[in-house]
C-alpha cells in the first residue's frame, strides 16, 4: 500500500449531484456534495430521513439502483475515478478495499446461510483463501469483535443470535479482507443504548488498530461525534456544516445543527429541561425551497440573503465550513432552555393505577414451553405524575403496556384501576368507562392507523364509541382535538399514508385523546420519528397531559429522553422489575446494579440471549456486584421509600455506596 498524504486523500467526493427517476422526472436528491477523507480518518455524515445521507453512501459504492443516477461530479477512491470502473473491478473493491457495516444487522445477514458461510465467502472471493484458511480467518475476526464461543457462532444461523451479536458479526464480515475504508450505515440502529455504546467503542478500537478510514452515516449527531473525528451535517441533499466532532457539538454554526442539538435531551443529568423543537418538517426531495433549504424552519430567516439564491459553504467561526449567511453573527448565542415543572408531590397525588405482582406467561411457538414475558411486577402510577417504563428490547415493557390497555390479559397478579382489578379483562370486556380511561398510542403509526380511512373518520369513530351515540358535539370536539394536537383541519381529510411521520403520530394521539382518557399509555411514541420532529411530539404530549389532567405512561428504551420528562421510573430487565421509584431518586442514587449501569450507560458486554440463567437473579451473569446467593435465589423485592422498590440481594449499605458512586458518575453538584 502506498503512503498517502493530506493532499492525496483516500476518498474524495467532488461536487456530487445525484438524481432519482420518479414518474419519468429526475428528482435531484444530492446537490453539490464535496467531502474528502484521509487514510485512517473517520468522517460522520449526520442527517434525517430524506437528507440524502444514504444516497451519498450508496453513490460512493456506485450502487444507486436502477432509478438513481449520478448527474454530476466525481468520486475518487484511492486516486481512481469510481465512474471509470467496470462491474468486475467494482466487485474487487467491494468487501476487499471497502468494507460495509449495514444497518439492522438482522436483515443484512442471509437467513438461510450459516454465519461461517457468510464470513468465509468473503475471504475465498477476495483473498483466494482455501476453505481452511478462510475458516481460520473468519474465526479470528469473530474473536476480534469479542464474540464468545466462536465455534458455535460459525455454525449458527442469524436468527440464533441476539441483535448485538448480529451487529458484531456484520462488523467482523466487513473486516475479513482487511479493507482500507469502512462504510457504516446506522451502525447501532436497532440496538439498546448499552449495547450500542459497546459497539461504538469496538469500532473505534478496531479502526485505530488497523489504521482504517471510516465513513459513517447516521441520524444521531451525538453518536457520530463519539465515533468520528469530523462530522458533516446534511439537510435536504446538501452539506450544511462540516467541522471537527468536538467543535460541532460545542459551537454549532448552522441553525439546523443547533436545532438538532437543542431538541435532544441532554446526555447527562443536567436536570429536566424543556426540549426546543425545530418547527415544521424537512422538505421532501423535489420540494426544496429556493435559497436556503432550511429557511422555512429557521428563526433567523430573512428574505435577503437567505431566500435570495444558492447559499455557499464558507469558513465558520469555529474553524469548520458552514452553509449559512447568518452564522458567526448573532447566531452563536447559546440555547436557553427552560426547566420543566415537576409533577405533583407523591403524597399529594392519588394512586390512579396500581400494578401488583403482575405476570404474563404464554406458550411459545411449539406450544410446549411456557415463556415468561412478565413476572412479579409491582409499581404505582399516580395522577399527574408521568411514569416512564424503561428497559432494553426483550424486557417485557411492551407486554406490560398491552396488559394495562387490555390488549392482553395478565396470567397472574392484579391491575387496579382506581381500586378495581382489571388484570384479566380484555379491552372489549371492560366497561366503557374503564376502556375510555386507558388509551394507547403505538410506536408504528403506519401499522396502528387504518390506511384506508381518513384521519377524520378514525377520530370521529373513537369519539362516537366513547361518547353518546347521538352526540351532536362530536364535530366540535373533533375540531378541538385537531387543534389540541396542532394539526390543520385539512390534514384530517387525508389518509395516514399522505401524512408525514410526525403528523401521523399527532393524528394517533388525537385519536387516543378522543376517548378523554385519564391514562395515556404511549409505547415508544417518538422512536420512529426524525430527531428534529421528536421534541415537538414529546412536548405536545407533556402539554396535553397538563392541560387535560391526563396521566402519561411512556414505554421507552431511551433513558436520556425519559430522564428529562419522567416523574417516576420503572426499570424492567427480562420481564422482571429491577427498580421502580421517583425519577430523581433513581437517577441520582440508583440502587440496583442494572439501574446504575443504565444511568451511567457504562460500556459492558452485550447481554446475549443465550446466557439467561434458569434461576436466581436474571441479571447476575452481567452484574459487577454478583454474590453467591444471586445465582441461587430470585432477589426479594424490598421497599426502600415511598413508591421506591428494588429487587436485589445487595444489602442496603451497598445502596448507600452506590449513592456516592452515582453522584460521581454524572457530576451532580
Amino acid at each position: 500500500m502506498t503512503p498517502r498524504t493530506a493532499a492525496n486523500p483516500l476518498l474524495r467526493i467532488e461536487s456530487l449531484n445525484v438524481a432519482y427517476r420518479r414518474d419519468g422526472d429526475a428528482v435531484p436528491v444530492l446537490f453539490d456534495v464535496s467531502l474528502s477523507l484521509r487514510q485512517g480518518e473517520a468522517l460522520g455524515i449526520v442527517g434525517e430521513s430524506g437528507s440524502g445521507k444514504s444516497t451519498l453512501a450508496m453513490a460512493v459504492m456506485r450502487h444507486l439502483g436502477r432509478a438513481g443516477r449520478i448527474t454530476g461530479g466525481r468520486i475518487f477512491f484511492d486516486g481512481v475515478d469510481m465512474a471509470s470502473l467496470s462491474a468486475r473491478e467494482l466487485r474487487r473493491l467491494y468487501g476487499a478495499r471497502i468494507g460495509m457495516v449495514h444497518q439492522d444487522a438482522g436483515l443484512a445477514l442471509n437467513p438461510s446461510m450459516t454465519i461461517g458461510a457468510q464470513l468465509t465467502e468473503v475471504a475465498r472471493a477476495h483473498l483466494g483463501s482455501t476453505r481452511a484458511e478462510a475458516s481460520d480467518l473468519a474465526r479470528t475476526h469473530l474473536r476480534s469483535v469479542h464474540l464468545p464461543d466462536v465455534d458455535r457462532i460459525m455454525g449458527a444461523y442469524p436468527f440464533q443470535l441476539s441483535g448485538g451479536q448480529q451487529q458484531r458479526v456484520v462488523i467482523a464480515m466487513a473486516l475479513v479482507a482487511d479493507p482500507s475504508l469502512l462504510l457504516l450505515d446506522e451502525p447501532t440502529s436497532g440496538l439498546d443504548a448499552t449495547t450500542a455504546t459497546g459497539i461504538v467503542a469496538l469500532i473505534r478500537t478496531l479502526a485505530a488498530e488497523r489504521g482504517m478510514a471510516m465513513l459513517a452515516i447516521s441520524h444521531d449527531l451525538h453518536l457520530m461525534a463519539r465515533l468520528c473525528d469530523r462530522v458533516a451535517v446534511m439537510y435536504a441533499g446538501q452539506v450544511v456544516e462540516e467541522n471537527r466532532a468536538d467543535a460541532i457539538l460545542a459551537r454549532p454554526g448552522h441553525p439546523y445543527t443547533r436545532g438538532l442539538l437543542e431538541c435532544l435531551p441532554p446526555t447527562s443529568g443536567a436536570g429536566r429541561q424543556i426540549l426546543l423543537p425545530v418547527p415544521g418538517q424537512a422538505p421532501s426531495p423535489g420540494d426544496r425551497p429556493a435559497g436556503c433549504a432550511f429557511g422555512p424552519r429557521c428563526g433567523l430567516f430573512t428574505p435577503d440573503p437567505c431566500g435570495a439564491g444558492a447559499i455557499s459553504l464558507h469558513l465558520s467561526a469555529s474553524g469548520g465550513l458552514v452553509r449559512c449567511p447568518k452564522a458567526g453573527g448573532t447566531a452563536d448565542a447559546s440555547p436557553v432552555r427552560g426547566l420543566r415543572p415537576p409533577g405533583p408531590e407523591i403524597g399529594a397525588a392519588p394512586v390512579l393505577l396500581r400494578v401488583e405482582a403482575l405476570g404474563k406467561q404464554y406458550a411459545d411457538r411449539t406450544g410446549r414451553r411456557m415463556v415468561t414475558a412478565n413476572e412479579g411486577i409491582s409499581f404505582t402510577v399516580r395522577r399527574g405524575r408521568m411514569t416512564a417504563i424503561v428497559g432494553e428490547s426483550g424486557s417485557g415493557k411492551s407486554t406490560l403496556a398491552r396488559i394495562v390497555c387490555g390488549l392482553e390479559t395478565a396470567t397472574e397478579g392484579r391491575l387496579l384501576l382506581e381500586g378495581v382489578d382489571i388484570a384479566d379483562l380484555l379491552a372489549e370486556r371492560r366497561t366503557v368507562a374503564q376502556r375510555a380511561a386507558v388509551q394507547m398510542v403505538f410506536q408504528n403509526t403506519e401499522m396502528s392507523l387504518n390506511p384506508a380511512w381518513t384521519i377524520r373518520r378514525q377520530i370521529m369513530r373513537t369519539l362516537r364509541a366513547a361518547g353518546r351515540p347521538d352526540d351532536m358535539g362530536a364535530e366540535h370536539r373533533y375540531a378541538q382535538l385537531m387543534d389540541a394536537v396542532r394539526l390543520p383541519l385539512e390534514a384530517g381529510e387525508r389518509r395516514a399514508g399522505e401524512l408525514s411521520g410526525g403528523q401521523r403520530q399527532r393524528a394517533a394521539i388525537a385519536r387516543a385523546l378522543a376517548a378523554s382518557p385519564r391514562i395515556l399509555v404511549a409505547d415508544e411514541p417518538v422512536s420512529a420519528l426524525d430527531v428534529s420532529v421528536q421534541a415537538a411530539v414529546v412536548e405536545l404530549l407533556m402539554s396535553l397531559s397538563r392541560e387535560r389532567d391526563m396521566t402519561l405512561v411512556v414505554i421507552s428504551h431511551d433513558l436520556p429522553l425519559m430522564r428529562s420528562i419522567a416523574d417516576d421510573l420503572v426499570v424492567l430487565y427480562r420481564g422482571r422489575l429491577v427498580e421502580a421509584g421517583p425519577a430523581g431518586t433513581l437517577l441520582s442514587a440508583p440502587v440496583h446494579p442494572y439501574t446504575r449501569a443504565l444511568v451511567a450507560a457504562a460500556d459492558r458486554p452485550a447481554t446475549s440471549a443465550q446466557t439467561v440463567p434458569d434461576k436466581g437473579c436474571l441479571f447476575a451473569p452481567h452484574c459487577p456486584d454478583r454474590m453467591e446467593v444471586c445465582s441461587l435465589r430470585a432477589p426479594p423485592e424490598r421497599v426502600l421509600g415511598q413508591d421506591h422498590r428494588v429487587a436485589c440481594h445487595l444489602p442496603d449499605n451497598h445502596a448507600l455506596g452506590a449513592f456516592g458512586e452515582g453522584r460521581a458518575c454524572h457530576g451532580h453538584p
Binding site: M61, H63, R66, L90, R91, R92, L93, Y94, G95, A96, M100, H102, D104, L107, A108, L109, N110, P111, S112, M113, E121, V122, A125, H126, Y157, F159, Q160, V170, M173, R365, T366
Partner: protein, 305 residues
C-alpha cells in the same frame, strides 16, 4: 418422524370421515345398490347378507382392514374389483402429472427467476405479459384451441386420449400441453414475485457490496430463499393435477383418476368412490409431508426450532 405420525393420523381421520360419510346410513347404501324399486324387505335382506347390521365400529374395522390389504371391494359400475379399475387409472394420472411437471418446472422456474432478478426489465415485462395471457385462458378454451391447431390443422397428434389400443404416448401430448399452458404462467409469476422480493432484501444488497459474483448471489444467496413460495405452490399443485383436472381428462376422454371419480359419483358406485377418494387423501397427505420436509430444508428457522 413427527411428520410421518401426523400424516398417518390424517389418514386415519380421513378414513373415519369417509366411512361416516358413505356408510353411516346403511339403508341408503342398499337403495343405491338395489335401486329405488326394491322393497324394504329386500333391502334388509341385502343389508344382512353384506354385514351392514353389525355395529358401525366393527364394520369400520373390517372395512379398514380390507382397505389396508388393498381389497377395496367390488365396483358396481365396472363390474370388476375396484383395485383392477383404480390402479391403472391412478397410473395414467401419475404419468400425466409427471409429464406436466417435467415441462412446467424447467420452463416456469427459470423464466420467473430471470424476470424477478431484474424487476422492470424487458425480460420481466415479456414474461409477465405471457404469464397473464396464458393463465387468463381457461383449460377448456385452450383445449379447444390446441385441438383445432394441432389436430384439425396440422394433424400432428390424435384428438382423443382414449387409448383403446393400449398406452400411446402421442395421446398424452394434448392433455399435458393444456395443463402446462394453464399453469406455466401462474407458476412463473409466483416465482418472479418471490425472486424480486428476495433481490430487494438488505442481505442481497449486503452480498453485492461484499463483492460476490452475480452467479454466487443468485445460486448461493437468493435462490434458496426465493424458492420457498414456489415450492409450496408446486406441492399444492401435485394434488390438483392428479385428481382435480376433470375438465381436461373429460375433454380428451383421458382415463385418469379425475374422470373415474366423476363416473363413480354419477353412478353411485360407493366402493369405487370410497377407494378413489381415500387414495387421493393419502396422496395429499404424502405431498404435504414432503412439502414440510422440503420447507424445513429451505428454511433453517423451521428446521432448528
Amino acid at each position: 418422524m413427527k411428520r410421518i405420525a401426523a400424516t398417518l393420523l390424517t389418514a386415519v381421520a380421513a378414513s373415519i370421515l369417509l366411512f361416516l360419510l358413505f356408510e353411516l346410513s346403511p339403508r341408503s347404501v342398499a337403495i343405491a345398490t338395489l335401486g329405488p324399486f326394491a322393497t324394504p324387505e329386500q333391502q334388509t335382506l341385502w343389508l344382512q347378507a353384506h354385514g351392514y347390521m353389525q355395529p358401525p365400529q366393527v364394520r369400520y374395522c373390517r372395512w379398514l382392514g380390507h382397505f389396508l390389504i388393498g381389497d377395496f371391494g367390488q365396483s358396481r359400475a365396472f363390474a370388476a374389483p375396484v383395485s383392477s379399475v383404480l390402479w391403472p387409472r391412478l397410473g395414467h394420472s401419475l404419468i400425466l402429472v409427471a409429464c406436466f411437471f417435467a415441462i412446467t418446472l424447467p420452463v416456469a422456474l427459470p423464466l420467473g427467476i430471470a424476470a424477478g432478478l431484474r424487476e422492470g426489465s424487458a425480460v420481466d415485462r415479456i414474461v409477465s405479459a405471457i404469464a397473464v395471457a396464458t393463465s387468463a385462458l381457461p383449460p377448456f378454451a385452450s383445449a379447444v384451441l390446441l385441438s383445432a391447431l394441432l389436430v384439425t390443422r396440422l394433424h400432428l397428434v390424435p384428438g382423443t386420449s382414449i387409448m383403446t389400443e393400449g398406452w400411446d404416448w402421442r395421446q398424452v401430448v394434448l392433455p399435458v400441453l393444456v395443463l402446462v399452458l394453464s399453469d406455466v404462467g401462474y407458476l412463473a409469476r409466483i416465482t418472479r414475485t418471490s425472486m424480486a422480493e428476495i433481490m430487494a432484501t438488505p442481505y442481497i444488497r449486503a452480498a453485492i457490496l461484499k463483492g460476490m459474483s452475480p452467479a454466487r448471489i443468485l445460486f448461493r444467496h437468493a435462490l434458496r430463499n426465493a424458492m420457498i413460495t414456489p415450492f409450496t405452490i408446486i406441492m399444492l399443485q401435485v394434488n390438483w393435477a392428479i385428481g382435480g383436472v376433470v375438465v381436461v381428462e373429460a375433454f380428451y376422454s383421458f382415463h385418469g383418476i379425475g374422470t373415474l371419480l366423476l363416473q363413480a359419483a354419477l353412478r353411485k358406485d360407493l366402493p369405487l368412490l370410497e377407494a378413489a377418494t381415500f387414495v387421493l387423501v393419502m396422496i395429499a397427505g404424502i405431498t404435504q409431508m414432503l412439502a414440510d420436509i422440503g420447507y424445513a430444508f429451505l428454511n433453517p428457522r423451521i428446521r432448528l426450532s
